[in-house]
């Protein structure tokens, strides 16, 4: 941005869409926090964060991404340390430890860890000797993701923790893993969930598992080693589950169920969902107009300016406003994937896929949550929700994408 020569090399549609979303976000946070109450006037703080975030985006775009490549492991190490610190000395809110207070800084390390993990994965996957048709090569990336995933899940922050496997899968895919292998590799996770939700001793569970596995094998015709591994893993998980389930205490089971489905708690999440649906639904096609949201119930929705900001957009902007926001996200995400496709450098291309997939995950899960089609997991809406860490991290992500855009011709 500093010199005129570089201006045309930015991905302008993406930059403009991001700018528009930031503007809409600030306006919505303003609307949500002008109502008298606990959060009154927070929009001013958000404005300051925005200035900082734009500065961070500029810095992220300026350094050559080679620097990120080289610094990937140190950054990853630091972010893991921060995640451990959260569990040790973090501050809790609503029953979960997610925040770290370091003097004047108050932030969520999980968001930072997400970017660092994208860096190390991009570095790993762009290694010239990598051959994803070999099982042995699958494990290092898996391990790199499992550590931050487990640490964030422990907080507990289900929503953010699931972003880690999402970027892993996206990057396995983009790095060229055969699709069949990817599906077979993922199948034990599916078995685990299925076994938890159904009776793992039942005939139907095993019948379903058998049919799905057989289908996958017939369709994909995997190599023998792969086939044996997949069958053993799935059957192993299926046989372990009854034992595991029996050995869990009642309260542990309850905890896992709440973890999987926070919506069960009607006084907490359920109430928010209802209020959020009423807000969006009552907005209609045209919306009630900025600052004119009458669903004042939202003023008692503690998260209206953070996780449920989309409800404010839907109420005041109506279908038109909501679709505009969705469209703007669509522009960023599709331009981002396009960027990955055209970037010539392996690291840059993979980094872009990881960052964009994380963004896609956040946007879809958050918006589906506000309309009641996804569980309430405490995930902010990128660029729109109130919150300093998230805003800076999201802007840095976009800065990194522009970084790739400016140097897409380089090898």
């Amino acid at each position: 941005m500093a010199t005129r020569l570089r201006l045309p090399e930015l991905d302008w549609p993406m930059a403009l869409a991001a700018g528009a979303l930031l503007g809409i976000g600030l306006a919505s946070v303003y609307s949500a926090t002008t109502v008298p109450g606990m959060h009154e006037g927070l929009w001013a703080k958000q404005f300051l964060w925005l200035v900082l975030a734009l500065g961070a985006a500029y810095i992220a775009a300026s350094f050559h991404y080679r620097a990120h490549d080289a610094l990937a492991y140190p950054l990853y190490g630091i972010s893991l340390l921060l995640l451990v610190l959260v569990l040790a000395i973090g501050t809790s809110a609503l029953g979960a430890k997610r925040w770290l207070d370091l003097g004047p800084l108050h932030f969520q390390p999980s968001e930072i860890a997400l970017i660092a993990t994208v860096f190390v994965l991009a570095r790993r996957f762009s290694h010239p000797q990598l051959d994803l048709t070999r099982i042995r090569h699958w494990f290092p990336p898996l391990l790199l993701v499992l550590i931050p995933f487990a640490l964030v899940a422990k907080e507990p922050d289900l929503g953010t923790s699931l972003a880690f496997p999402v970027i892993l899968i996206a990057m396995y895919f983009w790095a060229g893993m055969p699709v069949g292998n990817l599906l077979l590799g993922l199948s034990p996770a599916g078995t685990l969930v299925l076994a938890f939700l159904t009776n793992p001793r039942g005939v139907s569970f095993w019948a379903a598992l058998g049919v799905v596995l057989a289908g996958l094998i017939v369709l994909l015709k995997p190599r023998r080693l792969m086939l044996v591994a997949a069958v053993l893993l799935n059957v192993g998980v299926g046989m372990m589950m009854p034992v595991v389930k029996d050995h869990l205490h009642d309260y542990q089971l309850r905890r896992i169920e709440t973890f999987l489905n926070p919506d069960q708690d009607p006084q907490g999440a359920g109430y928010q969902i209802i209020q959020s649906r009423i807000a969006i639904g009552s907005g209609g096609v045209l919306g009630k107009g900025w600052l004119k949201g009458t669903q004042k119930a939202l003023s008692f929705l503690p998260m209206r300016h953070t996780d449920f900001i989309f409800a404010v957009v839907g109420e005041e902007g109506g279908l038109i406003g909501a679709l505009t926001v969705v469209l703007l996200y669509g522009v960023i995400i599709l331009r981002g994937y396009r960027l990955s496709a055209v970037a010539r450098n392996g690291f840059a291309s993979l980094m872009a896929v990881g960052l964009v997939s994380a963004l896609f995950y956040h946007v879809t899960v958050n918006v589906l949550m506000t309309i009641g089609w996804a569980p309430v997991t405490g995930l902010p809406l990128p660029l729109l929700s109130y919150g300093g860490t998230a805003l800076i991290v999201n802007c840095v992500q976009l800065g990194l994408l522009q970084n790739v855009a400016m140097r897409r011709q380089e090898h």
């Binding site: 708690d265 879809t364 309309i371």
Partner: protein
């Protein structure tokens, strides 16, 4: 490598896949928006403009607690709370109104509460959006006043919520424990268990150890209310979730035994008593003094009252029956005698040096409680008269390891594992402990003399003493004290597996012990425990302690021939066990056996008057 064209084609295909997934996700979002904002728009607009949705919590009643005969010990009943509920819809218009001085003044006058308290509660509620309870368990007069003025008191409502009730007041208060409204700290730490503000949570006793059983699961329903906060209808979109009542507990406790023991302990300032069934380890009664009324906690304690209960030096909330640790005094001679017989160190007729009022050992003089001395005694008479000099010599011959092993086998020196929280373990010193404390071998062998008569470092809890008496009564069979007989309508739980192994020994060991204990009551130190027509076996204890006068102790079981009850009584800082603790046992047993109640019901086969002649004076 990547320049080859198949790789390029693969990349394009993969890019197309990513685009497809993205579009699919967004299509789902668009569908959802269309449904809410176009298809169902009218309904949601109506909900947002004319009516309001509110969540009503349907409180689950907490499980009741019954004694073994189905007598009610604790239950929940509906009570009327006056609450302030901040109305979301009026957040801007009403919030200022509710903190105005005249509103606060009127409300505080109506609910008969301090106006600054009301002001604070309402302000906090407006800020958090959570309902605040202004007056718990309001009497009818206040309810009527509120209903009359409801129209002018926006936000004020009457809500029904379950309240914990203990119909017998202080009776068995420590065993039952109490349940109080959950505090902020527990709400935070136990969030995963789904606790909500205003819910009851067990704090002590059974209410705490069986929290998971007694607590039900609150239900919820969404209701549509009008502008005045009156309910218009139930929201059909989300089906209501009915509350699941907590399960009830049936205890081994027997209300009649509990009453008898409470009555007998009525004058005790500080102390505890436990009665146990020596046949299965079920707790029949448990008393701790001073006591408190758990109903106070249900109604909500004032800060001053809480301070009075906890700051008081005598600590009424402490369950001395399982938490109080005392030197056992001469009640421990039972352990020494059992150990000596089982290890073959002495026989019932064995005599040692006669007692002249003291015993010389290691250059020190160890006194007997009777300065004039007991003369020559055999083992059984030594127990009967509680002769210290005899037991010093017994302890010497036994040695610490064997004495310690028998004490542990009889349930001392560790938690009994009773199903009540916060039990203390007591303490039985071992040679290792002395080594660690004084250095290897650098401790006087004379400690065994003191231990043999229950002084020194030994500490026991009343429930351990009762367990010891019960195991002796049951000829060494291991017992596990327990309070809960069954949960809900389920079958009686099998008594829990004992923690320690008990003592396997033949009648040759037990007969002299039973005989000696009967003699204690019939013509020894425990004659104050005599009950006409009932053979009682017991042992007195008088424990020196650093806190003032001696503690009085008494352990016993009855009827001696086929015991159905074993008891331990401890009274702090009062004097001799035979003078102060034994009469408590006597009064309890008299009430139970002369009224012929326990007799008939729990031990139909026993004839209590047959033993009197056998072991007479």
């Amino acid at each position: 490598m990547r320049s080859a064209s198949p790789a390029r084609r693969d990349r394009e295909r993969r890019f197309a896949a990513l685009v497809t997934i993205t579009l699919a996700g967004f299509a789902l979002i668009v569908l959802g928006l269309l449904r809410l904002q176009v298809v169902e728009h009218q309904r949601y607009r109506q909900l947002s403009e004319e009516n309001r949705i509110r969540l009503e919590v349907l409180r689950a009643p907490r499980g009741a607690i019954f004694d073994r005969n189905g007598e009610l010990l604790a239950d929940s009943y509906p009570s009327f709370n006056i609450v302030f509920r901040p109305m979301p819809a009026e957040s801007t218009a009403r919030t200022p109104a509710t903190v105005r001085a005249d509103w606060v003044h009127r409300v505080s006058a109506l609910v008969e509460a301090d106006s600054s308290t009301i002001h604070q509660l309402v302000r906090a509620a407006n800020r958090s959006g959570q309902t605040a309870i202004l007056r718990r368990n309001a009497p009818f007069a206040i309810l009527a006043g509120i209903e009359e003025h409801r129209a002018q008191l926006p936000g004020v409502e009457v809500l029904v919520g379950p309240l914990r009730r203990y119909p017998h007041g202080t009776l068995a208060a420590h065993l039952l424990g109490y349940a109080g409204q959950i505090n902020d700290r527990d709400l935070e730490t136990r969030a995963a268990e789904g606790y909500h503000p205003g819910e009851l949570i067990g704090r002590t006793g059974l209410e705490r150890s069986f929290e998971g059983t007694l607590r039900g699961q609150d239900g919820a329903e969404y209701v549509v209310v009008n502008a005045m906060g009156k309910r218009v209808s139930t929201l059909t979109e989300v089906p209501p979730r009915p509350p699941v009542a907590g399960r009830s507990l049936v205890l081994t406790l027997d209300l009649k035994v509990q009453r008898a023991l409470e009555d007998a302990m009525a004058g005790v300032v500080r102390g505890a008593a436990v009665a146990i069934d020596p046949r299965d380890g079920g707790i029949l009664a448990m008393v701790s003094r001073p006591d408190y009324d758990p109903n106070e906690f249900s109604r909500g304690l004032t800060g001053a009252r809480w301070k009075a209960l906890t700051g008081d030096g005598s600590n009424p909330l402490l369950n001395r029956a399982i938490q109080g640790q005392y030197p056992p005094g001469s009640t421990f001679k039972i352990v020494t005698m059992v150990a000596a017989l089982r290890e073959g160190v002495a026989r019932p007729e064995t005599m040692f040096q006669p007692c002249y009022g003291s015993y010389q050992f290691g250059g020190r003089s160890f006194g007997c409680w009777k300065p004039s001395g007991h003369g020559s005694l055999d083992l059984v008479s030594a127990l009967q008269h509680s002769c210290d000099v005899y037991f010093y010599q017994l302890g010497m011959r036994l040695g610490l390891p064997r004495l310690e092993a028998t004490a542990r086998a009889l349930g001392l020196g560790g938690r009994t594992g009773v199903d009540l929280p916060q039990e203390s373990g007591g303490f039985i010193p071992s040679a290792d402990w002395y080594d660690a404390r004084w250095g290897n071998g650098h401790w006087r062998k004379g400690v065994i003399l003191n231990l043999a008569i229950g002084q020194g470092e030994i500490l026991v809890t009343p429930i351990q003493l009762a367990l010891m008496a019960g195991e002796v009564a049951a000829d060494g069979r291991a017992l596990r004290p327990h309070v809960v007989l069954s949960v809900g309508d389920g079958p009686p739980a099998t008594p829990p597996h004992p923690l320690q192994t008990g003592i396997k020994a033949e009648a040759a060991v037990w007969d002299p012990v039973h005989q000696g204990l009967e003699q204690v009551v019939a013509a020894g130190t425990g004659t104050a425990a005599r009950v006409p027509g009932l053979a009682v076996a017991g042992k007195t204890g008088t424990a020196q302690n650093p806190h003032g006068k001696d503690h009085a102790l008494f352990v016993c079981y009855a009827p001696a021939a086929q015991p159905t009850i074993a008891m331990a009584i401890v009274i702090e800082n009062i004097g001799h066990g035979g003078t102060f603790a034994a009469p408590v046992a006597a009064q309890t047993l008299r009430q139970l056996f002369l009224a012929d109640s326990l007799q008939k019901r729990v031990a139909p086969a026993v004839r209590p008057d047959t033993t009197g002649g056998v072991h007479g004076d």
